[in-house]
C-alpha cells in the first residue's frame, strides 16, 4: 500500500489479512496485488474525514480551558455593559449641572448619544480575544497536523500541556532502535587488534544491525577496512540460527585441505561450549569480563576461533579471543531534553523490558527520572493508575495491541501509525511519522496553545485601561474641565479621540491574528520565568501599546475631513 496520502512517507507498506496489520486507511493506494476490504467505518467518519474536520474546525468542541475562559470573558462583558449602561443616568445628571454648555455629537441633554455608547461598549468588551479564541484553538490543531500528528480532540491537545509524567519506551525513543558495538575486550592475552579483526570477519555477512555495527566499529576504531565477500574467495559464512546461537565464518587455508580458521561469535554459553567441544578452554578472565558487561547493562558477544592445521594431522587449537560489548546507544540530545522537561515540571519514566540492572544503566545515562524494568502491559497500566491516583496527568506512546489498555488509560495516548488498529483506537492521538520522540513536541504544542490564550486575554483586558483614558475625558471634559486631566494622550478632539479608540480596537484584532495563528513564543523553562516574561510582555505591553496606538491613530485621524 502507498499510504503517503496520510503519512507523507513514500515507502510502501505491507497490509495483509489476518493479524494486527490488516487495517487499511481510506484514501491510500494499492500498489501491487489485489485486496478485498470490508468497510466497518460509517460514511463521513473516516480517517481522512476526521483530518479534514479537525483542520477545518467545523465541529470543534470547546476544550475545558476554553469553556472556562469563555465564562470569564462573558462575565467581563457583563461588567462592562453594566458600567456603560449605568453611565447614562449619571451622564444625564452631570450634563444637567452645566446647562450653559452647548450640545455636542457625543453628549446632549438626553445623555451620551447612542453611537458613542455603542462605541464605548465595543471598545471595552473583550472583542479582541473573543474573536481570536477559535483561531488560536484551530491553529494549535494545525500545528499538530503540520508535525504529522492527528489529535482526536482538542481536549487531548490541552491535556498534553498539563502532563506531569511522561512514559517513554526505551527502545526507539530514548535509545536508538538497536544495540551497537561499544568495545572489544580481549581475554587471555590476545591482541586487541586481532580480536577486532576476527570480530569484523565474523560479521561481514551478518546483516543484523548489531553485526553491521561491529563491522563499522572495527573500521572506525581500529582502521580495519571492511572486506567484501568477494575478497575472501575461500570464506564460507555461517549464519545465525536460534539453535546454535552464534554466527561466523570459515576461512579455508589455500592448498591445505581441511585446514583453515573458523571464527564464531555469539552468546557466551554457546561460544564457550563450542570452544570446549573443539578441545580448547576459556581463559579464566572470560567469565569475569562477560559478567562485568552484563552487570553494566550491555550485551556480551564472545568471539572465539578454531585453527585447523590440516586434515592430515588433524591438529586443532581452539581459543577464546575476547568479548564484544554491545550496548544501547542513547540518542543524542536526550539528556538535555529531559533536563528541559524537568525544569518544566515533567517527570520522565523509561519503560523497558530489560532487567533492572540494564535499565538502571540506561536510565542514568539518559537522565530520566525513573524507570520501569521488565515491564509487562499490566505493569504499565498499574504505573499509569498509580500516577493518576496521585493527581498527575500521564502521557505515553505505544504501538502494539498490548499497549492499548495503557494508551486508553493515559490522559494523552499517542499511537504510532505503524501500530495496530487497536492501539490507534485506544489512543487519543496518532503520530503519522511513528516517531515516539514526538511526544515531547506534542507537550510543547499543548503548552503553547494555553499560553497563547492566556497572553492574548491578558493583553486584551489590559488594553481597556487606555480606552477609558481616551473616551471618558472626550465625553465629559466639556462638563467637568477637570476630567481633561485624564486625557493623558492629549488627543486632538473628543471626536477624534472616540474614533481613534474604535479604530485601534479594530486594528489590534488584525494585528494579533498572526500571533494567534503562530502562537506565542514558547521556550521551555520554569514557571516563574515564563510568568514574569509573559506578564511583562502581554500585561504591561497591553497597558502601554494602546496609549501609543491610539495617539498615533489620532495624529492621522484629526486630518480627516469632518473631524473637528
Amino acid at each position: 500500500m502507498d499510504e503517503s496520502a496520510i503519512t507523507g512517507e513514500s515507502a510502501p507498506v505491507i497490509r495483509e489479512s489476518g493479524g494486527d496489520r490488516s487495517a487499511v486507511t481510506g484514501g491510500t493506494l494499492v500498489l501491487s496485488d489485489r485486496i478485498v476490504v470490508e468497510i466497518t467505518q460509517r460514511p463521513g467518519e473516516s480517517f481522512i474525514d476526521r483530518m479534514i474536520g479537525l483542520v477545518e474546525g467545523a465541529n470543534r468542541q470547546k476544550t475545558p480551558n476554553e469553556v472556562a475562559l469563555n465564562i470569564l470573558l462573558a462575565s467581563l462583558t457583563i461588567v462592562f455593559l453594566l458600567a456603560v449602561v449605568s453611565l447614562q443616568p449619571l451622564a444625564i445628571f452631570s450634563r444637567a449641572q452645566q446647562p450653559g454648555i452647548p450640545d455636542n455629537a457625543a453628549l446632549d441633554a438626553d445623555g451620551v448619544t447612542g453611537i458613542v455608547l455603542a462605541a464605548l461598549v465595543v471598545c471595552l468588551i473583550p472583542t479582541t480575544i473573543g474573536a481570536l479564541l477559535s483561531a488560536i484553538g484551530i491553529a494549535g490543531m494545525d500545528r499538530l497536523v503540520q508535525r504529522n500528528v492527528l489529535a482526536m480532540s482538542g481536549r487531548a491537545v490541552e491535556a498534553a500541556g498539563d502532563v506531569d509524567t511522561l512514559l517513554l519506551d526505551k527502545t526507539g525513543t530514548i535509545t536508538l532502535g538497536n544495540r551497537e558495538a561499544w568495545a572489544f575486550i580481549p581475554v587471555g592475552g590476545v591482541d586487541e587488534r586481532a580480536l577486532a579483526d576476527a570480530a569484523q570477519l565474523s560479521s561481514l555477512a551478518d546483516e543484523t544491525p548489531e553485526g553491521r555495527s561491529i563491522v563499522v566499529f572495527a573500521k572506525t576504531t581500529y582502521g580495519l577496512r571492511e572486506r567484501t565477500a568477494g575478497e575472501l574467495p575461500t570464506a564460507t559464512f555461517v549464519p545465525f540460527t536460534a539453535q546454535t546461537r552464534m554466527s561466523g565464518v570459515d576461512l579455508a587455508t589455500p592448498g591445505l585441505r581441511g585446514g583453515g580458521r573458523q571464527i564464531r561469535k555469539g552468546s557466551a554459553s554457546a561460544v564457550l561450549a563450542w570452544v570446549r567441544e573443539s578441545g580448547g578452554s576459556a581463559p579464566p578472565d572470560t567469565d569475569h569480563v562477560v559478567d562485568g558487561i552484563s552487570a553494566s547493562g550491555g550485551t556480551p558477544l564472545v568471539v572465539a576461533e578454531v585453527l585447523t592445521a590440516g586434515a592430515a594431522d588433524g591438529g586443532r587449537t581452539a581459543r577464546v579471543l575476547g568479548v564484544v560489548q554491545l550496548r544501547d546507544i542513547v540518542k543524542a540530545g536526550m539528556r538535555e531534553r529531559f533536563d528541559e522537561m524537568r525544569s518544566m515540571g515533567i517527570r520522565t519514566i523509561m519503560i523497558t523490558g530489560d532487567n533492572p540492572l540494564t535499565a538502571r544503566t540506561i536510565a542514568e545515562e539518559a537522565g530520566v527520572d525513573d524507570f520501569l524494568a521488565e515491564a509487562t502491559p499490566q505493569d504499565k497500566l498499574d504505573l499509569i493508575r498509580r500516577e493518576q491516583a496521585g493527581g498527575r496527568l500521564v502521557a505515553m506512546t505505544g504501538d502494539g495491541t498490548n499497549d492499548a489498555p495503557a494508551l486508553a488509560q493515559a490522559d494523552v495516548g499517542v499511537a504510532m501509525n505503524t501500530g495496530t488498529s487497536a492501539a490507534k483506537e485506544a489512543g487519543n492521538m496518532v503520530d503519522l511519522d511513528s516517531n515516539p520522540t514526538k511526544l515531547i513536541e506534542i507537550v510543547e504544542i499543548g503548552k503553547q496553545l494555553l499560553i497563547t490564550r492566556g497572553a492574548l486575554t491578558t493583553f486584551s483586558i489590559a488594553n481597556d485601561v487606555a480606552k477609558y483614558f481616551a473616551i471618558i475625558p472626550a465625553l465629559f471634559a466639556a462638563v467637568y474641565p477637570g476630567l481633561d486631566t485624564f486625557n493623558l494622550m492629549r488627543l486632538h478632539s473628543p471626536q477624534s479621540a472616540i474614533l481613534s479608540a474604535v479604530v485601534f480596537n479594530a486594528l489590534v484584532i488584525i494585528a494579533l491574528i498572526p500571533l494567534a495563528l503562530r502562537g506565542v513564543r514558547y521556550t521551555p523553562g520554569n514557571a516563574m520565568a515564563m510568568l514574569r516574561r509573559n506578564l511583562c510582555v502581554y500585561g504591561l505591553g497591553g497597558l502601554v501599546v494602546p496609549f501609543v496606538g491610539i495617539k498615533l491613530i489620532d495624529l492621522v485621524v484629526q486630518f480627516l475631513p469632518g473631524i473637528r
Binding site: 475562559l69 462592562f80 471595552l124 498539563d162 494555553l450 514557571a527 510568568l531 509573559n534 506578564l535
Partner: protein, 553 residues
C-alpha cells in the same frame, strides 16, 4: 512632632502591632477550626440546639445552614425592632417603622451595619443589647465560618464535606469573639467608654442651656462593633462620639481591633492548607492595597488644594479635634478597607480625592483586608481569577494549591465578582434616574452624585459607612438598600460555598516546578494587579463623574 510625623507614627505603629499578632493570632484561629475537642459550653449549646457537632456537611447543606440561620436571625431582629414599644428597657421609644426595621434587620444580619436611624433617639437598651449586639457577634461568626469552609475546600481532597457550620459558628463566638470582647470592653471602659444603664440625663451646659445625654451599655457593644467588623454605633455619631471613642489611644485600639481578625485569617488559611507562605502571600496583597489606601487618604487630607485646606494646612472639616486629621484619615481608610463602616469623622466633608480613595477602598470588594471572614473569601476568589489568567500564561490548566481552576470554579468566581458591581452601579444608576430619590442628596452636582454612589457602594459591599448628606430614611432607600445588602451578602456566600464544594471534590495535584508558584512576590503583584484593574475598569466612569469631576482641576 508635627502633624505628618504624628500621622506616620500612628499608622506605622498599627502596622507593627498587626504584624506582631499576625502569627500567634492566626495560629490560634487555625487551631480553633481544626481542633477535635469540644468545650463544655459548646457541647451544651449543641445539645440545646439539637446539632450533632461531629457530622461533616456537604456544601449545599452548609449553605442551607448559613441561610436558615441568617433568615431566622433577620426575622427575629425585625420582629424585635417592630415590637420595641411593648418590651422593657425601651427608654420610652416606640417600635421601628416597617421600612426602617427591615433595613436595620437586613443591615445587622449581613454584617453591613448601615444605619438609617440614630441609635440614641430610636433604640432602647434591650434592642441594642439583645437585638443588635447579638447580631454583631453572629454575623461576624457567619462570615468567618464561610471563609473557613472555603479554606477547607482548598485543604481537603476528594471529599464533598466542608466541616460543620454550627461548630464553626459556635467556636468563633465562644473561643474568639467573646473572650476578646470581654477583655476589650474592660479596656475600653478604662479608656473612658461608658457602660451603664442611666438612661437619659439632662445636664446644664456651660452656656446655661440644657442637654439630654443618653448613657448606656456602650463599651460592650463598641468592642464587637470593631472586632467583628460591624460598625453599627450605639450613638448616631458612631466612633466620633466621646462616649464611644474618647481618646487618641482608644481610637488607635479601635482601628487595631477592626483590622485584627481580617489580617490574621490569612495566617490561619496558610496553616490549614499546610503552607504558611500561601497565607503570607495573601496577607501581602491585602497589606499592599491597605497601605496604599491609608497613605492616599492621609495624603489627600493633609495636602489638598482648595481654599480652606490650604489656609488651615490640612482638611479639617468634619474631623474630630480629639483625633486630628491623620487619626481620622487612618480610621476612615481602615473602616472602608474592612467592611466595618464605623466612622469617627464625616466622610462627606473629606476632600473630594480623599473621598474618592474611601470609595475605591470599598470598591475593591472589601478584600484588603475586608470584613471578618468575608475579606479572606473575597481575596481568595480574586486569587482564583489571578491564578486562572496567570496559569494559562505558563501553559497549564491553572492550579491553585493543587486544585484545578476549570470552568466550574471560574463560573463561581466570576459570579462572585459580578454581584457587587451589579448592585452598586445598578442602585446608583436607578437612584440617579429617579428625580424623587435624587432629591434626597444634600449637595448638588458631582458631590451629590458621590453621596449616592457612596451609599450604593457601601451597601453593596456590606460596609455600612455613610458619606452622610444623603437622607436615606425613606421608604424607597430603606427598601432598596435593605434588599441590596441581603443580595450583596448572601449571593456571594452561595458562590463561595459552591466554589468550596467543587474545590474539595478534586484530588490535590502535586506541586512541581511547572506549576504556578503562588507564594512569590510576582504572584502577590499579579493578584494586586488583577484586583486593581478589575475595579478600575468597572467603576472608572462612575468615579470620574463623582469625586474626580469634583476634585480635579
Amino acid at each position: 512632632m508635627n502633624t505628618t510625623t504624628a500621622g506616620v507614627v500612628f499608622a506605622a505603629s498599627l502596622a507593627v502591632a498587626l504584624g506582631l499578632t499576625y502569627r500567634p493570632f492566626g495560629d490560634y484561629l487555625a487551631r480553633v477550626y481544626t481542633s477535635e475537642r469540644h468545650l463544655r459550653a459548646e457541647k451544651m449549646t449543641y445539645r440545646l440546639v439539637g446539632v450533632d457537632p461531629d457530622t461533616d456537611q456537604r456544601w449545599s447543606i452548609h449553605l442551607r445552614a448559613v441561610l436558615a440561620f441568617s433568615c431566622v436571625s433577620a426575622l427575629f431582629l425585625y420582629v424585635f425592632l417592630r415590637l420595641q414599644g411593648r418590651l422593657p428597657f425601651n427608654l420610652g421609644f416606640d417600635g421601628m417603622a416597617p421600612g426602617q426595621a427591615f433595613n436595620t434587620a437586613a443591615s445587622f444580619v449581613t454584617n453591613t451595619n448601615w444605619q438609617s436611624y440614630a441609635g440614641e433617639s430610636t433604640l432602647g437598651y434591650l434592642a441594642q443589647m439583645a437585638g443588635l449586639a447579638v447580631q454583631n457577634f453572629a454575623s461576624a461568626a457567619v462570615g468567618i465560618s464561610v471563609a473557613i469552609a472555603l479554606v477547607r475546600g482548598f485543604s481537603r481532597s476528594h471529599t464533598d464535606r466542608l466541616g460543620n457550620f454550627w461548630v464553626d459558628l459556635v467556636r468563633t463566638v465562644v473561643r474568639v469573639l467573646l473572650p476578646i470582647s470581654v477583655i476589650g470592653a474592660v479596656v475600653l471602659v478604662a479608656g473612658g467608654v461608658v457602660q451603664n444603664f442611666h438612661g437619659v440625663r439632662t445636664v446644664s451646659t456651660i452656656v446655661g442651656g440644657g442637654q439630654a445625654i443618653t448613657g448606656g451599655p456602650v463599651a460592650s457593644q463598641e468592642i464587637i462593633k470593631e472586632l467583628g467588623t460591624n460598625g453599627g454605633g450605639f450613638y448616631n455619631a458612631n466612633s466620633a462620639h466621646p462616649f464611644e471613642n474618647p481618646t487618641v489611644w482608644t481610637n488607635w485600639l479601635q482601628i487595631y481591633l477592626l483590622l485584627a481578625i481580617p489580617f490574621a485569617l490569612p495566617r490561619a488559611f496558610g496553616k490549614m492548607v499546610g503552607d504558611t507562605r500561601q497565607g503570607l502571600a495573601i496577607v501581602s496583597v491585602m497589606a499592599v492595597l491597605a497601605i496604599t489606601g491609608v497613605f492616599l487618604v492621609n495624603g489627600f487630607q493633609l495636602a489638598h488644594h482648595g481654599t480652606v485646606p490650604t489656609a488651615v494646612g490640612a482638611a479639617t472639616e468634619g474631623v474630630e479635634t480629639r483625633f486630628g486629621v491623620s487619626g481620622s484619615a487612618t480610621f476612615a481608610a481602615a473602616t472602608t478597607l474592612t467592611s466595618t463602616g464605623a466612622v469617627n469623622s464625616a466622610h462627606d466633608s473629606y476632600t473630594s480625592l480623599g473621598g474618592a480613595v474611601l470609595l475605591l477602598n470599598m470598591m475593591l470588594g472589601e478584600i484588603a483586608p475586608g470584613g471578618a471572614g468575608s475579606g479572606l473569601y473575597g481575596m481568595l476568589v480574586v486569587a482564583v481569577l489571578a491564578v486562572f489568567v496567570g496559569g494559562l500564561m505558563i501553559g497549564r490548566t491553572p492550579e491553585y494549591l493543587g486544585k484545578k481552576i476549570a470552568a466550574r470554579e471560574v463560573k463561581f468566581a466570576a459570579l462572585y465578582i459580578l454581584t457587587t458591581p451589579a448592585l452598586a452601579l445598578g442602585v446608583t444608576a436607578v437612584a440617579m434616574a429617579l428625580p424623587g430619590e435624587r432629591a434626597n442628596m444634600l449637595n448638588s452636582g458631582a458631590h451629590g452624585l458621590s453621596e449616592v454612589l457612596y451609599a450604593a457602594t457601601s451597601v453593596a459591599n456590606n460596609n455600612g459607612s455613610a458619606f452622610a448628606g444623603l437622607t436615606a430614611n425613606t421608604a424607597w432607600w430603606n427598601t432598596v438598600l435593605g434588599i441590596s445588602m441581603l443580595l450583596a451578602r448572601f449571593l456571594p456566600v452561595v458562590f463561595v460555598l459552591g466554589l468550596a464544594g467543587s474545590l474539595a471534590r478534586q484530588r490535590t495535584a502535586p506541586v512541581s516546578s511547572g506549576t504556578l508558584p503562588t507564594h512569590r512576590p510576582l504572584f502577590v503583584g499579579l493578584v494586586t494587579g488583577v484586583a486593581f484593574v478589575v475595579v478600575a475598569l468597572t467603576y472608572f466612569p462612575a468615579i470620574a463623574l463623582g469625586p474626580f469631576a469634583e476634585g480635579l482641576h
